[in-house]
């Protein structure tokens, strides 16, 4: 049984097609993160699910009921907005109970639900304050509470943490995760923060220009991206790409360098065509240990960027930039020559023509 199911969804703003034949099935209790570059249609999709935008074509089902024409309040969803969107003239309590009053919930029921939400989110001391007298983190908690009191099956979050500073963001991220484990609601969460996506999601949907590129678990998306866009988008620093071909079976060749692909898992057999050879900077091994890797080569450090916990070293292989992430304690300096090695089994290879994984 699916919780939210989107079928052939189209959404146009006038002549601009924002969502194109989008299909998505979300299970009960699943935490789905929508991730994508700015303007790819994440908020638009969320607004469609919430019923705040009228879809141009297609259907939306929530709990196996077709809600395509239903009002937002009748869909069994709660929504948390980026700008909190708290009603400024009402107290926190007023904000929390507004939806319940509209639904004509009896008074004592409202009281108990507000009390429960306030307890879960630890905002009891704030109940009689106005939103203007709250900090950003507290406001966001109230905004979550407003969705919480309505006892909905599906939570929609539109970049709820992006207005907060880094530390608070990390704290609230954990709180949202804890909330999900406690409530087991379905959650659809929009972000363009990769860390949020990787840590929170059961599954991540990577979107580009109104289309879902890949819908998979975070590990699968990280390790086996289906196309070059996803590979490039996920991971920080992003993946290295070497331009070459695979005319010799099982071997990748770029310039004078040949990499034996050994036990790389091909999607459908090795092809003999121009390809991108993608490799994550953090999977490269440097120094003595590199010699034991299936592939190793000598390179020169061109730029060294220390970042505390680790250091990013820019080098090149066959005149193509190649980034390597090494331990923060490593003693590589600009101009140093060093040995790097890696296991091609961890690479991602993409056909140059259609940019799909091979």
């Amino acid at each position: 049984m699916t919780s939210v199911s989107i079928k052939n969804l189209d959404l146009n703003f006038g002549s601009v097609k924002v969502l194109k034949q989008l299909n998505l099935e979300i299970d009960h209790g699943e935490f789905l993160v929508l991730l994508g570059a700015s303007g790819c249609g994440k908020s638009t999709l969320l607004n469609c699910i919430a019923g705040l935008l009228e879809v141009s074509d297609g259907q939306i089902h929530i709990n196996d009921k077709n809600v395509t024409w239903e009002e937002p309040s009748d869909r069994g969803i709660g929504m948390v907005f980026q700008s909190y969107a708290l009603y400024p003239q009402m107290t926190v309590k007023g904000n929390l109970s507004f939806g319940l009053k509209n639904a004509r919930v009896p008074k004592d029921e409202i009281e108990s639900r507000v009390a429960r939400a306030a307890e879960i989110l630890q905002i009891e001391p704030l109940l009689h304050r106005k939103p203007a007298a709250l900090s950003g983190g507290q406001r966001q908690r109230v905004a979550i509470g407003r969705a919480l009191v309505r006892d909905v099956d599906v939570f929609l979050f539109d970049e709820p943490l992006s207005n907060l500073d880094a530390k608070l963001r990390a704290d609230l991220r954990v709180e949202i995760k804890r909330l999900h484990q406690k409530l087991h609601n379905t959650m659809i969460y929009v972000t363009h923060d990769q860390v949020e996506a990787m840590t929170l999601a059961d599954r991540i949907a990577i979107m580009k220009e109104g289309l879902i590129q890949q819908l998979d678990s975070p590990a699968e998306i990280y390790n086996r991206p289906v196309n070059k866009y996803v590979a490039d988008f996920i991971g920080s620093p992003s993946m290295n790409f070497l331009d070459g071909d695979m005319s010799t079976k099982g071997k990748f060749k770029t310039g004078g360098t040949e990499i034996d692909l050994g036990n790389y898992e091909f999607v459908d057999g090795p092809i003999g065509a121009p390809v991108w050879f993608g490799f994550r900077p953090e999977h490269v091994i440097v120094g003595e240990a590199a010699t034991s890797q299936p592939f190793s080569t000598k390179v020169v450090a061109e730029i060294v960027e220390p970042m505390g916990s680790d250091t990013l070293v820019w080098t090149s292989i066959e005149n193509q930039p190649f980034r390597v992430r090494v331990d923060g304690q490593a003693s590589i300096k600009t101009g140093d020559e060093f040995l790097l090695g890696f296991d091609p089994a961890r690479a991602s290879i993409f056909d140059k023509e259609n940019e799909l994984r091979v």
Binding site: A50, G78, S83, A85, Y87, Q89, N102
Partner: protein
Amino acid sequence: MTNSSSNTTVEMTGPRGAKPKRALSPRNIMIYGVLLVVACYYLLPLYVMIATSLKGMPEIRLGNIFAPPVDITFEPWVKAWSQACTGLNCEGLSRGFWNSVRILIPSVAISILIASVNGYALANWKFKGAEVFFTILIFGAFIPYQIMIYPMVIFLRELGLFGKLGGLVLVHTVFGMPILTLLFRNYFTSLPEELFKAARVDGAGFWGIYFRIMLPMSIPIFVVAMILQVTGIWNDFLFGVIYTKPDAYPMTVQLNNIVNSVQGVKEYNVNMAATLLTGVVPLVIYFASGKLFVRGIAAGAVKG
């Protein structure tokens, strides 16, 4: 120097802290001088009016209009309010005042109510034809209303409202609509859209959102609209003359009739008092709500 950022006292010479300002710089003299002259220029007529209204006729005949009143008398004010004659009746301005009040209150209330709902619907509920409707309204704001006077006369006659206070209320409501709707629409568009969305998710309907969410956040713009309407309607002369009969004339029309009446001597003091009395209402409104007015203008009226 291992700890340069600690709280040890550091030797400092030369300029430090806020730059001192001289009170009597040439620049200040210039600014305040010009402001003073301009203020006097605008206040002088008011002074003349007040001074004249407090003088008796013999004093006025001396012809010294700038001289302060020697013998202060409130007789002209009383006469202007309750005894001045227009044609046959000699009830003074009081009847016009009450007529104006009876016109003002419903016109202001109805026009603001309708225009705010219009603006809210246009800003937040993207209904079919909203764009067309809005364009027509904007167009209406720029048509000189003199063009519509005669059609309006016929329209009111057909409704049976011609010459009645109700007719004038209708006219004021209709003519205030374009600019007020524009004002409210712009204000409501400037409010965060997510608030509206949140209220919809919370199950509030068209009126629920209007009364519970939008209205409490829009007090400044309501004040602006009220001031615009009160001054506009109170100062209106043309519509009052055209669409009402003598016993329903608003204060401005009656003032005109008193000042321009040709019988007997011209009582300048009574005329001045009558004029001041007529201008009092908009003035009071301005003074009472000046701050809110500025805030409302800054908040919504100029944003688009």
